[in-house]
Protein backbone atom coordinates (compact mmCIF):
# COMPACT_ATOMS: atom_id res chain seq x y z
CA UNK A 1 0.00 0.00 0.00
CA UNK A 2 2.86 2.38 0.84
CA UNK A 3 4.47 1.40 -2.45
CA UNK A 4 1.28 2.28 -4.34
CA UNK A 5 1.12 5.59 -2.47
CA UNK A 6 4.73 6.34 -3.44
CA UNK A 7 4.18 5.45 -7.10
CA UNK A 8 0.98 7.53 -7.20
CA UNK A 9 2.76 10.48 -5.61
CA UNK A 10 5.58 10.22 -8.14
CA UNK A 11 3.05 10.23 -10.97
CA UNK A 12 1.24 13.31 -9.61
CA UNK A 13 2.95 15.83 -11.94
CA UNK A 14 1.39 13.96 -14.88
CA UNK A 15 -2.20 14.33 -13.62
CA UNK A 16 -2.95 16.91 -16.33
CA UNK A 17 -2.61 14.15 -18.93
CA UNK A 18 -5.43 12.29 -17.23
CA UNK A 19 -7.76 15.28 -16.81
CA UNK A 20 -10.59 13.49 -18.60
CA UNK A 21 -10.40 10.50 -16.22
CA UNK A 22 -10.12 12.95 -13.31
CA UNK A 23 -13.24 14.84 -14.40
CA UNK A 24 -15.13 11.55 -14.78
CA UNK A 25 -14.10 10.49 -11.28
CA UNK A 26 -15.02 13.85 -9.77
CA UNK A 27 -18.44 13.62 -11.39
CA UNK A 28 -18.87 10.04 -10.12
CA UNK A 29 -17.97 11.05 -6.56
CA UNK A 30 -20.20 14.12 -6.56
CA UNK A 31 -23.06 12.32 -8.23
CA UNK A 32 -22.90 9.30 -5.94
CA UNK A 33 -22.34 11.01 -2.62
CA UNK A 34 -23.80 14.52 -2.56
CA UNK A 35 -27.34 13.52 -1.62
CA UNK A 36 -26.14 11.03 1.00
CA UNK A 37 -23.72 13.62 2.41
CA UNK A 38 -26.61 16.09 2.64
CA UNK A 39 -28.88 13.67 4.53
CA UNK A 40 -26.07 12.50 6.81
CA UNK A 41 -24.91 16.03 7.67
CA UNK A 42 -28.45 17.27 8.32
CA UNK A 43 -29.06 14.53 10.85
CA UNK A 44 -25.62 14.71 12.47
CA UNK A 45 -26.14 18.43 13.08
CA UNK A 46 -29.66 17.73 14.31
CA UNK A 47 -28.68 14.97 16.69
CA UNK A 48 -25.78 17.02 18.09
CA UNK A 49 -28.20 19.85 18.89
CA UNK A 50 -30.68 17.37 20.32
CA UNK A 51 -28.09 15.74 22.62
CA UNK A 52 -26.11 18.79 23.70
CA UNK A 53 -28.89 21.42 23.56
CA UNK A 54 -30.88 20.43 26.70
CA UNK A 55 -27.68 19.95 28.73
CA UNK A 56 -26.35 23.38 27.79
CA UNK A 57 -29.75 25.06 28.23
CA UNK A 58 -30.16 23.56 31.73
CA UNK A 59 -26.82 25.11 32.70
CA UNK A 60 -27.65 28.42 31.11
CA UNK A 61 -25.24 27.84 28.25
CA UNK A 62 -27.80 27.43 25.48
CA UNK A 63 -26.32 30.34 23.56
CA UNK A 64 -23.11 28.27 23.11
CA UNK A 65 -24.90 25.51 21.23
CA UNK A 66 -24.11 26.82 17.74
CA UNK A 67 -20.39 26.94 18.49
CA UNK A 68 -20.40 23.42 19.89
CA UNK A 69 -22.25 21.98 16.90
CA UNK A 70 -20.09 23.92 14.41
CA UNK A 71 -16.77 23.00 16.04
CA UNK A 72 -17.79 19.33 16.38
CA UNK A 73 -18.83 19.22 12.75
CA UNK A 74 -15.79 21.06 11.41
CA UNK A 75 -13.11 19.31 13.40
CA UNK A 76 -14.38 15.83 14.14
CA UNK A 77 -17.74 14.55 13.01
CA UNK A 78 -17.69 16.11 9.57
CA UNK A 79 -14.27 14.75 8.53
CA UNK A 80 -14.80 11.32 10.07
CA UNK A 81 -18.39 10.76 8.96
CA UNK A 82 -17.86 12.12 5.45
CA UNK A 83 -14.74 9.96 5.04
CA UNK A 84 -16.56 6.85 6.25
CA UNK A 85 -19.44 7.67 3.89
CA UNK A 86 -17.02 8.06 0.99
CA UNK A 87 -15.17 4.87 1.92
CA UNK A 88 -18.45 2.97 1.83
CA UNK A 89 -19.89 4.58 -1.23
CA UNK A 90 -16.94 5.51 -3.44
CA UNK A 91 -14.05 3.45 -2.04
CA UNK A 92 -16.04 0.25 -2.34
CA UNK A 93 -16.92 1.10 -5.94
CA UNK A 94 -13.25 1.82 -6.71
CA UNK A 95 -12.15 -1.51 -5.21
CA UNK A 96 -14.89 -3.37 -7.08
CA UNK A 97 -14.11 -1.69 -10.41
CA UNK A 98 -10.35 -2.20 -10.20
CA UNK A 99 -10.87 -5.72 -8.84
CA UNK A 100 -13.11 -6.56 -11.75
CA UNK A 101 -10.58 -5.06 -14.18
CA UNK A 102 -7.86 -7.19 -12.62
CA UNK A 103 -9.91 -10.38 -12.76
CA UNK A 104 -11.05 -9.81 -16.34
CA UNK A 105 -7.50 -9.01 -17.57
CA UNK A 106 -8.18 -5.34 -18.35
CA UNK A 107 -5.22 -4.28 -16.21
CA UNK A 108 -2.95 -6.79 -17.96
CA UNK A 109 -4.24 -5.40 -21.27
CA UNK A 110 -3.23 -1.89 -20.20
CA UNK A 111 0.27 -3.14 -19.37
CA UNK A 112 0.59 -4.75 -22.79
CA UNK A 113 -0.39 -1.40 -24.33
CA UNK A 114 2.51 0.11 -22.37
CA UNK A 115 0.06 2.12 -20.26
CA UNK A 116 0.88 2.30 -16.56
CA UNK A 117 -2.25 1.16 -14.66
CA UNK A 118 -1.26 3.27 -11.65
CA UNK A 119 -1.14 6.46 -13.72
CA UNK A 120 -4.18 5.61 -15.80
CA UNK A 121 -6.45 4.18 -13.09
CA UNK A 122 -5.17 4.96 -9.59
CA UNK A 123 -3.87 8.52 -9.97
CA UNK A 124 -7.14 10.10 -11.21
CA UNK A 125 -9.12 8.26 -8.53
CA UNK A 126 -6.86 9.28 -5.65
CA UNK A 127 -6.64 12.89 -6.83
CA UNK A 128 -10.41 13.07 -7.42
CA UNK A 129 -11.27 11.74 -3.98
CA UNK A 130 -8.68 14.07 -2.39
CA UNK A 131 -10.26 17.09 -4.09
CA UNK A 132 -13.87 16.05 -3.61
CA UNK A 133 -13.83 15.06 0.05
CA UNK A 134 -12.70 18.45 1.44
CA UNK A 135 -15.43 20.08 -0.69
CA UNK A 136 -17.92 17.67 0.82
CA UNK A 137 -16.73 18.69 4.28
CA UNK A 138 -17.54 22.35 3.61
CA UNK A 139 -20.90 21.29 2.25
CA UNK A 140 -21.44 19.04 5.28
CA UNK A 141 -20.59 21.90 7.65
CA UNK A 142 -23.19 24.16 6.06
CA UNK A 143 -25.96 21.54 5.96
CA UNK A 144 -25.08 20.15 9.40
CA UNK A 145 -25.22 23.61 10.96
CA UNK A 146 -28.60 24.20 9.35
CA UNK A 147 -29.79 20.86 10.78
CA UNK A 148 -28.52 21.84 14.22
CA UNK A 149 -30.16 25.27 14.05
CA UNK A 150 -33.44 23.73 12.92
CA UNK A 151 -33.56 21.28 15.85
CA UNK A 152 -32.36 23.94 18.33
CA UNK A 153 -35.13 26.32 17.32
CA UNK A 154 -37.96 23.76 17.18
CA UNK A 155 -37.16 21.61 20.19
CA UNK A 156 -38.80 23.14 23.31
CA UNK A 157 -36.12 21.62 25.61
CA UNK A 158 -33.44 23.52 23.70
CA UNK A 159 -35.32 26.62 22.54
CA UNK A 160 -32.33 28.41 21.03
CA UNK A 161 -33.28 30.66 18.14
CA UNK A 162 -31.60 30.19 14.77
CA UNK A 163 -30.10 33.69 15.09
CA UNK A 164 -28.58 32.89 18.49
CA UNK A 165 -27.35 29.55 17.16
CA UNK A 166 -25.57 31.09 14.18
CA UNK A 167 -24.20 33.98 16.25
CA UNK A 168 -22.61 31.46 18.59
CA UNK A 169 -21.29 29.49 15.63
CA UNK A 170 -19.78 32.64 14.13
CA UNK A 171 -18.19 33.67 17.43
CA UNK A 172 -16.71 30.23 18.15
CA UNK A 173 -15.68 28.78 14.86
CA UNK A 174 -12.39 30.13 13.57
CA UNK A 175 -10.82 29.62 10.14
CA UNK A 176 -8.16 27.42 11.69
CA UNK A 177 -10.89 25.04 12.94
CA UNK A 178 -12.08 24.63 9.39
CA UNK A 179 -8.50 24.25 8.19
CA UNK A 180 -8.02 21.58 10.88
CA UNK A 181 -11.03 19.73 9.45
CA UNK A 182 -9.87 20.19 5.87
CA UNK A 183 -6.40 18.82 6.65
CA UNK A 184 -7.92 15.79 8.32
CA UNK A 185 -10.37 15.24 5.49
CA UNK A 186 -7.66 15.52 2.85
CA UNK A 187 -5.48 12.96 4.62
CA UNK A 188 -8.46 10.63 5.13
CA UNK A 189 -9.32 10.99 1.44
CA UNK A 190 -5.80 10.06 0.31
CA UNK A 191 -5.91 7.09 2.68
CA UNK A 192 -9.30 5.88 1.43
CA UNK A 193 -8.21 6.30 -2.20
CA UNK A 194 -4.94 4.43 -1.80
CA UNK A 195 -6.37 1.67 0.43
CA UNK A 196 -9.30 0.99 -1.89
CA UNK A 197 -7.29 1.12 -5.12
CA UNK A 198 -4.65 -1.13 -3.56
CA UNK A 199 -7.27 -3.69 -2.56
CA UNK A 200 -8.77 -3.55 -6.03
CA UNK A 201 -5.42 -4.08 -7.77
CA UNK A 202 -4.60 -6.97 -5.41
CA UNK A 203 -7.79 -8.85 -6.24
CA UNK A 204 -7.33 -12.53 -6.99
CA UNK A 205 -9.85 -15.08 -8.18
CA UNK A 206 -13.29 -14.45 -9.59
CA UNK A 207 -16.40 -12.69 -8.28
CA UNK A 208 -15.76 -14.00 -4.77
CA UNK A 209 -12.32 -12.38 -4.85
CA UNK A 210 -13.89 -9.07 -5.89
CA UNK A 211 -16.35 -9.31 -2.98
CA UNK A 212 -13.51 -10.01 -0.55
CA UNK A 213 -11.54 -7.04 -1.88
CA UNK A 214 -14.49 -4.68 -1.49
CA UNK A 215 -15.10 -5.77 2.10
CA UNK A 216 -11.41 -5.45 2.98
CA UNK A 217 -11.19 -2.06 1.27
CA UNK A 218 -14.07 -0.59 3.30
CA UNK A 219 -13.09 -2.17 6.63
CA UNK A 220 -9.41 -1.22 6.27
CA UNK A 221 -10.35 2.33 5.24
CA UNK A 222 -12.53 2.80 8.32
CA UNK A 223 -9.84 1.40 10.62
CA UNK A 224 -7.23 3.71 9.04
CA UNK A 225 -9.58 6.72 9.29
CA UNK A 226 -10.17 6.18 13.02
CA UNK A 227 -6.50 5.52 13.83
CA UNK A 228 -5.35 8.49 11.73
CA UNK A 229 -8.05 10.64 13.32
CA UNK A 230 -6.44 10.25 16.72
CA UNK A 231 -2.92 10.81 15.42
CA UNK A 232 -3.81 13.91 13.37
CA UNK A 233 -5.94 15.38 16.18
CA UNK A 234 -3.06 14.88 18.57
CA UNK A 235 -0.66 16.59 16.16
CA UNK A 236 -2.99 19.49 15.37
CA UNK A 237 -4.15 20.07 18.94
CA UNK A 238 -1.47 22.65 19.83
CA UNK A 239 -2.59 24.78 16.89
CA UNK A 240 -6.32 24.70 17.61
CA UNK A 241 -6.98 24.25 21.33
CA UNK A 242 -7.37 27.97 22.02
CA UNK A 243 -10.36 28.33 19.72
CA UNK A 244 -12.52 26.09 21.89
CA UNK A 245 -11.38 27.79 25.05
CA UNK A 246 -12.19 31.16 23.55
CA UNK A 247 -15.63 30.07 22.45
CA UNK A 248 -16.71 28.45 25.68
Amino acid sequence: MLLLFGVTLRALPRIFRYRRNLAEQLFEIGNASLFMACVLSLFIGGVLALQAGPLLTQRGLGSMLGGLVGASLAKELGPVMMSILIAGRIGSAMAAELGSMRVYQEIDALRTLNIDPVEYLVLPRVVAISLALPCLLVFSLLIGSAGGAFVAALNPEVAVSATAFFNSLKATLEPRDIIHGLIKTFLFAVTVGVVCCNQGLDTLGGPRGIGRSVTKAVVNSIVFILVLDYIITRMLLPFTKNSMAGGF
Binding site: M101, Q105, D108, R111, T112, L113, N114
Partner: protein
Protein backbone atom coordinates in the same frame (compact mmCIF):
# COMPACT_ATOMS: atom_id res chain seq x y z
CA UNK B 1 2.09 0.34 -43.26
CA UNK B 2 4.58 0.02 -46.12
CA UNK B 3 5.67 -3.35 -47.44
CA UNK B 4 9.31 -2.80 -46.53
CA UNK B 5 8.40 -1.83 -43.00
CA UNK B 6 6.16 -4.88 -42.75
CA UNK B 7 8.88 -7.29 -43.78
CA UNK B 8 11.16 -5.89 -41.10
CA UNK B 9 8.44 -6.20 -38.48
CA UNK B 10 8.95 -9.71 -37.16
CA UNK B 11 11.13 -10.35 -34.16
CA UNK B 12 12.96 -13.57 -33.33
CA UNK B 13 11.98 -15.01 -29.96
CA UNK B 14 14.32 -17.33 -28.11
CA UNK B 15 13.40 -19.01 -24.85
CA UNK B 16 16.15 -20.67 -22.88
CA UNK B 17 15.65 -23.04 -19.93
CA UNK B 18 12.66 -21.11 -18.63
CA UNK B 19 11.40 -22.28 -15.26
CA UNK B 20 8.47 -21.09 -13.19
CA UNK B 21 6.79 -22.49 -10.11
CA UNK B 22 3.79 -21.28 -8.13
CA UNK B 23 4.49 -22.54 -4.63
CA UNK B 24 5.36 -26.21 -4.93
CA UNK B 25 3.69 -26.54 -8.34
CA UNK B 26 6.14 -26.51 -11.23
CA UNK B 27 4.37 -24.83 -14.17
CA UNK B 28 7.25 -24.35 -16.62
CA UNK B 29 10.04 -26.89 -16.37
CA UNK B 30 12.98 -25.82 -18.53
CA UNK B 31 11.33 -24.52 -21.70
CA UNK B 32 13.55 -24.07 -24.79
CA UNK B 33 12.01 -22.54 -27.91
CA UNK B 34 13.14 -20.75 -31.06
CA UNK B 35 10.46 -18.79 -32.89
CA UNK B 36 11.35 -17.30 -36.27
CA UNK B 37 10.55 -13.70 -37.22
CA UNK B 38 7.15 -13.38 -38.87
CA UNK B 39 6.01 -16.98 -38.46
CA UNK B 40 2.74 -18.17 -36.94
CA UNK B 41 3.82 -20.40 -34.10
CA UNK B 42 1.20 -22.33 -32.17
CA UNK B 43 1.67 -23.58 -28.64
CA UNK B 44 -0.69 -26.49 -28.23
CA UNK B 45 -1.36 -28.72 -25.28
CA UNK B 46 -3.92 -29.81 -22.74
CA UNK B 47 -5.40 -27.44 -20.16
CA UNK B 48 -3.03 -26.71 -17.29
CA UNK B 49 0.08 -27.56 -19.31
CA UNK B 50 1.57 -24.06 -18.79
CA UNK B 51 0.81 -22.53 -22.21
CA UNK B 52 -0.80 -19.32 -20.94
CA UNK B 53 1.85 -18.88 -18.25
CA UNK B 54 4.55 -19.13 -20.93
CA UNK B 55 2.68 -16.55 -23.00
CA UNK B 56 2.49 -14.16 -20.04
CA UNK B 57 6.27 -14.52 -19.61
CA UNK B 58 6.77 -13.64 -23.27
CA UNK B 59 5.06 -10.28 -22.83
CA UNK B 60 6.54 -9.52 -19.44
CA UNK B 61 3.42 -10.03 -17.32
CA UNK B 62 5.20 -12.75 -15.30
CA UNK B 63 8.79 -13.07 -14.22
CA UNK B 64 10.52 -16.42 -14.40
CA UNK B 65 12.32 -18.20 -11.58
CA UNK B 66 15.23 -18.89 -13.93
CA UNK B 67 16.08 -18.96 -17.62
CA UNK B 68 15.74 -16.19 -20.16
CA UNK B 69 13.63 -14.89 -23.01
CA UNK B 70 15.34 -12.98 -25.81
CA UNK B 71 13.73 -10.75 -28.42
CA UNK B 72 16.37 -10.31 -31.16
CA UNK B 73 19.07 -10.90 -28.49
CA UNK B 74 17.54 -8.42 -26.01
CA UNK B 75 16.36 -9.85 -22.71
CA UNK B 76 12.65 -9.33 -22.06
CA UNK B 77 13.42 -8.00 -18.56
CA UNK B 78 15.68 -5.24 -19.92
CA UNK B 79 14.75 -1.64 -19.20
CA UNK B 80 12.84 -0.01 -22.05
CA UNK B 81 12.07 -3.26 -23.87
CA UNK B 82 8.60 -1.96 -24.71
CA UNK B 83 10.10 1.16 -26.25
CA UNK B 84 12.34 -0.95 -28.47
CA UNK B 85 9.78 -3.58 -29.48
CA UNK B 86 6.06 -3.30 -30.05
CA UNK B 87 4.49 -6.29 -28.34
CA UNK B 88 0.74 -6.86 -28.43
CA UNK B 89 -1.45 -9.46 -26.81
CA UNK B 90 -4.99 -10.61 -27.45
CA UNK B 91 -6.37 -11.94 -24.20
CA UNK B 92 -8.64 -14.93 -23.76
CA UNK B 93 -11.44 -12.66 -22.52
CA UNK B 94 -10.49 -9.93 -24.99
CA UNK B 95 -9.28 -7.70 -22.15
CA UNK B 96 -11.29 -4.76 -23.50
CA UNK B 97 -11.86 -1.88 -21.11
CA UNK B 98 -15.56 -1.98 -20.34
CA UNK B 99 -15.76 1.73 -19.57
CA UNK B 100 -14.59 2.66 -23.09
CA UNK B 101 -16.32 2.26 -26.44
CA UNK B 102 -14.96 -0.09 -29.07
CA UNK B 103 -13.40 2.85 -30.91
CA UNK B 104 -11.79 4.21 -27.74
CA UNK B 105 -10.46 0.74 -26.91
CA UNK B 106 -8.93 0.30 -30.33
CA UNK B 107 -7.39 3.78 -30.32
CA UNK B 108 -6.27 3.67 -26.68
CA UNK B 109 -2.60 2.98 -27.44
CA UNK B 110 -2.37 5.92 -29.83
CA UNK B 111 -4.36 8.35 -27.69
CA UNK B 112 -2.62 7.57 -24.39
CA UNK B 113 0.84 7.82 -25.91
CA UNK B 114 -0.13 10.96 -27.86
CA UNK B 115 1.15 9.38 -31.07
CA UNK B 116 -1.42 10.86 -33.47
CA UNK B 117 -4.00 13.61 -33.66
CA UNK B 118 -7.59 12.79 -32.74
CA UNK B 119 -8.60 12.86 -36.40
CA UNK B 120 -5.78 10.57 -37.42
CA UNK B 121 -6.58 8.17 -34.56
CA UNK B 122 -10.19 8.01 -35.72
CA UNK B 123 -9.06 7.15 -39.26
CA UNK B 124 -6.67 4.44 -38.06
CA UNK B 125 -9.30 2.97 -35.73
CA UNK B 126 -11.80 2.66 -38.57
CA UNK B 127 -9.12 1.16 -40.82
CA UNK B 128 -8.17 -1.49 -38.26
CA UNK B 129 -11.80 -2.26 -37.45
CA UNK B 130 -12.46 -2.75 -41.15
CA UNK B 131 -9.57 -5.25 -41.26
CA UNK B 132 -11.48 -7.42 -38.78
CA UNK B 133 -14.79 -6.80 -40.56
CA UNK B 134 -16.27 -4.33 -38.10
CA UNK B 135 -17.87 -1.07 -39.17
CA UNK B 136 -18.06 2.53 -37.91
CA UNK B 137 -21.32 1.78 -36.06
CA UNK B 138 -19.56 -0.93 -34.06
CA UNK B 139 -16.94 1.56 -32.89
CA UNK B 140 -19.62 3.38 -30.86
CA UNK B 141 -20.70 0.27 -28.98
CA UNK B 142 -19.46 -0.73 -25.54
CA UNK B 143 -17.80 -4.13 -25.01
CA UNK B 144 -20.84 -5.32 -23.01
CA UNK B 145 -22.91 -4.99 -26.20
CA UNK B 146 -20.63 -7.29 -28.20
CA UNK B 147 -20.68 -11.05 -28.74
CA UNK B 148 -17.65 -13.14 -27.74
CA UNK B 149 -16.42 -13.32 -31.33
CA UNK B 150 -16.75 -9.57 -31.83
CA UNK B 151 -14.81 -8.91 -28.63
CA UNK B 152 -11.95 -11.06 -29.91
CA UNK B 153 -11.98 -9.23 -33.24
CA UNK B 154 -11.93 -5.84 -31.48
CA UNK B 155 -9.01 -7.09 -29.38
CA UNK B 156 -7.19 -8.07 -32.60
CA UNK B 157 -7.88 -4.60 -34.06
CA UNK B 158 -6.51 -3.02 -30.87
CA UNK B 159 -3.37 -5.13 -31.19
CA UNK B 160 -2.96 -4.16 -34.86
CA UNK B 161 -3.10 -0.45 -34.03
CA UNK B 162 0.27 -0.84 -32.33
CA UNK B 163 1.80 -2.02 -35.64
CA UNK B 164 3.19 -4.85 -33.55
CA UNK B 165 6.34 -6.82 -34.12
CA UNK B 166 5.05 -9.63 -31.92
CA UNK B 167 1.40 -10.59 -31.40
CA UNK B 168 0.44 -13.10 -28.76
CA UNK B 169 -2.99 -14.75 -28.75
CA UNK B 170 -4.24 -16.51 -25.65
CA UNK B 171 -6.89 -19.12 -26.50
CA UNK B 172 -8.41 -16.98 -29.26
CA UNK B 173 -11.21 -19.44 -30.08
CA UNK B 174 -12.24 -20.45 -26.58
CA UNK B 175 -15.96 -20.01 -25.90
CA UNK B 176 -16.67 -19.48 -29.61
CA UNK B 177 -18.85 -21.60 -31.88
CA UNK B 178 -17.00 -23.35 -34.75
CA UNK B 179 -18.13 -20.81 -37.37
CA UNK B 180 -16.92 -17.81 -35.37
CA UNK B 181 -13.77 -19.72 -34.42
CA UNK B 182 -12.99 -20.15 -38.12
CA UNK B 183 -13.53 -16.40 -38.65
CA UNK B 184 -11.16 -15.55 -35.80
CA UNK B 185 -8.59 -18.00 -37.18
CA UNK B 186 -8.79 -16.26 -40.56
CA UNK B 187 -8.36 -12.86 -38.85
CA UNK B 188 -5.17 -14.12 -37.21
CA UNK B 189 -3.75 -15.27 -40.55
CA UNK B 190 -4.81 -12.02 -42.24
CA UNK B 191 -3.28 -9.92 -39.44
CA UNK B 192 -0.04 -11.85 -39.79
CA UNK B 193 -0.06 -11.31 -43.55
CA UNK B 194 -0.57 -7.55 -43.08
CA UNK B 195 1.92 -6.94 -40.26
CA UNK B 196 4.42 -9.80 -40.73
CA UNK B 197 4.60 -9.77 -36.97
CA UNK B 198 5.88 -12.84 -35.18
CA UNK B 199 2.63 -14.49 -34.11
CA UNK B 200 2.35 -16.83 -31.18
CA UNK B 201 -0.97 -18.54 -30.56
CA UNK B 202 -1.78 -20.54 -27.46
CA UNK B 203 -4.64 -22.95 -27.98
CA UNK B 204 -5.97 -26.42 -27.33
CA UNK B 205 -8.16 -26.12 -30.41
CA UNK B 206 -6.65 -28.71 -32.78
CA UNK B 207 -8.48 -27.39 -35.86
CA UNK B 208 -7.21 -23.86 -35.27
CA UNK B 209 -3.66 -25.03 -34.60
CA UNK B 210 -3.37 -27.13 -37.75
CA UNK B 211 -5.28 -24.57 -39.79
CA UNK B 212 -3.09 -21.53 -39.14
CA UNK B 213 0.33 -22.67 -37.88
CA UNK B 214 3.64 -22.55 -39.68
CA UNK B 215 5.02 -24.54 -36.77
CA UNK B 216 3.55 -26.09 -33.64
CA UNK B 217 5.04 -26.85 -30.24
CA UNK B 218 3.29 -29.36 -28.01
CA UNK B 219 3.47 -28.54 -24.32
CA UNK B 220 2.67 -30.98 -21.54
CA UNK B 221 3.21 -30.55 -17.80
CA UNK B 222 5.46 -27.56 -18.32
CA UNK B 223 7.71 -29.22 -20.92
CA UNK B 224 7.95 -29.03 -24.69
CA UNK B 225 7.50 -32.58 -25.89
CA UNK B 226 7.40 -31.95 -29.65
CA UNK B 227 8.12 -29.09 -32.06
CA UNK B 228 7.66 -29.06 -35.81
CA UNK B 229 5.50 -28.27 -38.80
CA UNK B 230 1.82 -29.26 -38.58
CA UNK B 231 2.63 -32.35 -40.69
CA UNK B 232 5.48 -33.33 -38.37
CA UNK B 233 3.27 -32.95 -35.30
CA UNK B 234 0.52 -35.01 -36.93
CA UNK B 235 3.08 -37.73 -37.62
CA UNK B 236 4.63 -37.51 -34.14
CA UNK B 237 4.90 -40.82 -32.31
CA UNK B 238 5.14 -39.17 -28.89
CA UNK B 239 2.44 -40.88 -26.80
CA UNK B 240 1.27 -37.59 -25.21
CA UNK B 241 0.87 -35.94 -28.63
CA UNK B 242 -0.85 -39.02 -30.07
CA UNK B 243 -3.25 -39.16 -27.12
CA UNK B 244 -4.11 -35.46 -27.44
CA UNK B 245 -4.60 -35.59 -31.20
CA UNK B 246 -6.63 -38.78 -31.21
CA UNK B 247 -8.94 -37.82 -28.31
CA UNK B 248 -12.49 -38.15 -29.56
CA UNK B 249 -15.91 -38.27 -27.99
CA UNK B 250 -17.65 -41.58 -28.55
CA UNK B 251 -20.69 -42.92 -26.73
CA UNK B 252 -20.36 -46.34 -25.17
Amino acid sequence: MTASKSLESGVAIRVRQLRKSFGSQVVLDGIDLDIQPGEIFVLMGPSGSGKSVLLRHLIGLETSDSGEILLNDTRIEDEGIRDRFRLAMVFQSGGLLNSLTVGENVGLYLSEHRLKSALEIERIVQEKLALVHLGPKDSLKYPSELSGGMKKRVAIARALVMEPQVVLYDEPTSELDPLVAVTVGREIVRANAVTHATTLVVTHDRDLAFGIANRIAFLSEGRIVAVGTPEAIRASQDPLVRRFLSADFTRD
